[in-house]
């Protein structure tokens, strides 16, 4: 027998549309234009479900539903509210208990049909929902948290999750539920470009570890409490953000806002499924999140903490490399340890395989049989013998083979990459919460872009020479040939060249300033002089520092004056 649905709707057009849709789906539908008509129909026959519009004449949907519930304590229909003003209805006492679901009136039909199916499928559902609401209320929440689910839930998932969470997608959504860690790219998209970027991500799969903000398991009471606390934290700290960060568009602003709201660090997590072998907590897009974090470091909003060093593919930058002992000649990894045999009589010495002739040992040079160990021959040592080319060596070469693109690299020429964890600084907390009107220059001024070590050096020099009223300019030095040198000769070679270059620069600048190495770039903090600003003498100076280097590092400089505009030169 087809389920019977009572539609309580005063707008006749909406009533006709919904009625015909539901009937087309096989339901038996009766319509009532107000609460009283509905009660009358219910007295005549039983219904499985009643769809009640909140905005009804004379007696609104809430009052009508209460009346229906009071008249039919047992065996009454399940109630679903349709409203364009969900917050108002939710604010009514006991609305969550009376209505199994509250659906927006602009709801698309497939979602409505799904909700009806779900409601009609389990006769105990309403009771379960009421119990779930009770559990949330114990933890300080008046209702089930509105949630969106990734990926699109199956019917079964929807039924189960729909008990604990309000899966009807209306704002404000409070959490993002994740049932499968394979959707992390979608979550990264949310962090990068959606308005929901500050919401906590709830791991239901148990596979996301620190990537998610919190985990949830229906059977674990602690996880209910943990989730409730997490929702509260995100909600309360979001209100502390200034408008710029609450509605941030740039990834680095979104990142710092999120780290503040979530009260956590940006921590790397080992993940072999990614080419970088690492993903960062919070589900921000990788590798853009690293660039964003580095920018925040340079702004003094994050500090970094060394995590690990990875070798990366010279071609595709993947960190998934197979490290192998290889033949120095043909680069085959097929090396076998072999005994060296030394034939005393003719001085031939070579791997045992070359002497083997069945069970006998025959000298490949003089064809004499070796019988007497210690008399005819001995085993003078062991070597690694390459099976494909036969070359022997005591020390194998180290090579890397990229598991993603197949590129082969020599150990020394393989670039290395350091990864860091990032933590918020006190300054960051001030920045994201402070009104922008108070200190606009602190965010945009050139000094705000300086790395902390450079800022410290600048401040120290300014303090030391305050009496002389000196002014200083900061010069950022980069190396255009860096990537090329690393590709050809390895990172260590480039670092040696860079150190020599910096030593030359320090000698040349003498007591005019200081030179600092920070991250990928070097900085010179030099006294500003009217007769010879750095920009005027820089070409000659850099040429001189470069002249004693075996390979041209192709230095370029950029003046980062704390007050003046930046100027690029190379």
């Amino acid at each position: 027998m087809s389920p019977r649905i009572l539609l309580v709707e005063d707008d006749l057009i909406s009533q006709d549309v919904l009625k015909s849709v539901l009937e087309a789906r096989g339901f038996v539908v009766d319509a009532a234009k107000d609460g009283f008509a509905a009660v009358r129909l219910l007295e005549k026959r039983g219904y499985d479900l009643a769809l009640v519009d909140y905005q009804l004449p004379d007696m609104d949907g809430y009052a009508s539903a209460r009346l229906i519930r009071d008249l039919h304590e047992k065996g009454g229909p399940k109630l679903i509210a349709l409203t364009a003003n969900a917050p108002a209805l939710e604010a009514r006492t006991g609305a969550d208990e009376i209505f199994e679901m509250i659906l927006p009136k602009s709801l698309d039909l497939p979602s409505l049909l799904q909700a009806i199916d779900r409601s009609l499928s389990d006769p105990r559902r309403g009771s379960l929902i009421r119990q779930a609401i009770g559990l949330w209320q114990e933890r300080g929440h008046s209702r089930r948290p509105p949630a969106i689910v990734f990926p699109e839930p199956t019917r079964e998932q929807h039924l189960v999750l729909g008990v604990c969470f309000d899966l009807v997608p209306h704002d404000p959504t409070e959490v993002i539920l994740v049932t499968d860690s394979s959707v992390i790219p979608s979550l990264e998209q949310i962090r990068a470009s959606s308005q929901h970027f500050l919401l906590p991500i709830v791991d239901l799969s148990g596979c996301m570890a620190e990537s998610a903000d919190v985990t949830f398991s229906v059977s674990a009471p602690d996880s209910w409490s943990g989730l409730a606390a997490c929702i509260d934290r995100h909600a309360s700290r979001s209100t502390l953000l200034n408008d710029h960060f609450r509605h941030a568009a740039k990834l680095e602003d979104r990142l710092i806002a999120y780290l503040f709201v979530a009260e956590r660090s940006l921590a790397p997590i080992v993940d072999a499924s990614k080419t970088s072998c690492v993903r960062y907590s919070g589900c921000f897009p990788d590798p853009e999140v690293i660039d964003a974090a580095e920018n925040l470091v340079s702004r003094g909003l994050l500090v970094r903490d060394f995590f690990d060093r990875f070798h990366s593919c010279i071609n595709c930058h993947s960190h998934r490399l197979n490290v192998r002992e290889e033949c120095p000649s043909c680069r085959s990894p097929y090396l076998n340890l072999s005994d060296l045999l030394h034939h005393f009589k003719c001085a031939h010495q070579g791997p045992e395989e070359e002497f083997r002739s069945g069970s006998r040992l025959l000298c490949p040079k003089c064809r004499k049989e070796l019988r007497h160990y210690g008399g005819d021959y001995d085993k003078s040592g062991r070597v690694l013998r390459c099976s494909p080319c036969g070359t022997c060596s005591s020390e194998p070469a180290i090579g890397f083979s990229c598991m993603d693109c197949g590129t082969h690299m020599d150990g020394d020429a393989t670039p290395k990459r350091d990864l860091f964890a990032y933590h918020m600084t006190p300054r960051a907390r001030q920045t994201v919460t402070r009104s922008l009107v108070d200190a606009p220059d602190r965010l945009t001024g050139a000094r705000g872009l300086l790395r902390p070590a450079v800022t410290r050096a600048l401040e120290k020099l300014e303090t030391d020479r305050r009496k002389a009223r000196s002014e200083f300019e900061v010069i950022e030095i980069s190396y255009k040939a860096r990537d090329d040198i690393i590709a050809r000769h390895g990172l260590s070679h480039f670092m040696a060249l860079r150190a020599l270059f910096i030593e030359n620069l320090i000698n040349k600048l003498s007591d005019l300033g200081e030179v600092l190495a920070e991250g990928d770039k070097d900085y010179a903090v030099v006294e500003k002089r009217e007769d010879a600003s750095f920009a005027r003498i820089a070409d000659r100076l850099l040429l001189h520092c470069q002249s004693s280097l075996a390979i041209n590092v192709d230095p370029a400089f950029r003046v980062l004056d704390a007050k003046a505009n930046e100027a690029d030169r190379g």
């Binding site: 030394h342 001085a347 070597v383 005591s394």
Partner: protein, 432 residues
Amino acid sequence: MRLTVADFERGFDFLLAQSALSLISLFWYTIIFEFPRYGIAFLAVAVVPVVERRRLVQHASDRSVSGSKSRISVLAVGHNEAGSIERCVRSLRAQSLTNLEIIVVSDGSSDAMSRVATKLTKEGLVDRALATDLRGGKSSGVNLAIHASTGNIIVNVDCDCSYDRFAIENAVRPFDDPSVGAVCGDIIPRNGDTSLIARFQEIEYLHTISVGKRIAAAFGQVVCVSGAFGAFRREALASVGNFDVGGGEDLDLTLRLRSKGWRVEFAEDAVCYTDVPETLWGLIRQRFRWERDAIWLRFRKHWRLLHPGSSSFRIAEAVHQWDYLIFNVAGAIIFPFYIAWLYQTYGTSATTVLVATQVGLVVVDTLMLAIAARVAGRPALARNLPYMLGYSFFASYIMRFVRLWAYIEEFFLFGSRRDNYVPAKVRAARPW
């Protein structure tokens, strides 16, 4: 027996009173064992420039392709050479030829040699480093290195030597001639200033290697490619089964290559610098070893080269064998008898004869030094002139007796079998 000035005056008068025939009977040793060598040298000096010019012209025409078409492997094999291997490798990496394959073998070293070699491998200075746990001697070490190498020209170097920037480029140039199987480089002592003994050896090396081998090469008589610096064609080495058990493995290999018909050349502009013994006892021990090895190789292992009935007999090989037998072996054996005969026959006048002989030899040696310095193109004359009197006496009265003792020891006591230069296990198995 006390000699007075009167004895010398009497002896001088005695010499002046001799007829030409009598003088020959007095100085027969010098005439037989010394003069022919100098004579050959003087003659060669006249001939060599012509031969040299011909070779230079040929080299000049080949210069553009030399070295570029060969893959060159340099083998440095040593035992406990941790202190010197790095300097040696760096000197090799500073060569004018840059595409060298350098292979280091630590032959059972108990010091840090294999660790240093590994470090150099990691720095990219050494292409391959091999190490054995048990010492097997230089021959087996070099054979292992040859096995690990890939070049078609194999250059064998000593770990405690260093090399002129163009040494290897010049050493491999003669291989443009496909009949050349081995090339010997010039060896120059780098510590000639440290002692009188070292200075004498500097003069000796100039005579015997820088000039002596140049002359020998002109006549196809280079019979030893020094272990300190020699280049070999891989094909030639393979034809004789690489190195045989030592000592004297450098002489042995050269003799075997010659027997197989390979030409052996001397590259006078391929210079290797080495340290020579600085003390007399160090020198004597070294020469004992060299001469003992020469005897067992020439007259035990390769005695067939002297035998006209042997299939391996060749005139060119017989010449250097007889040359060594007459001028080195017989000359050293007969010398004490000559002195005894002089004193028995002429009494105190014998001293005058010996002094006169020595004066004559100093003059000739000095003349040879001047020629050698000119031929070698090195400023060796003024530097060594003050030492010629001492050198002449040293060569006649010390080194000749050292050789004599080495020959006696080897012929009658098989001294080379006790030589620790080669491990005991190998010496015991040595077939000759």
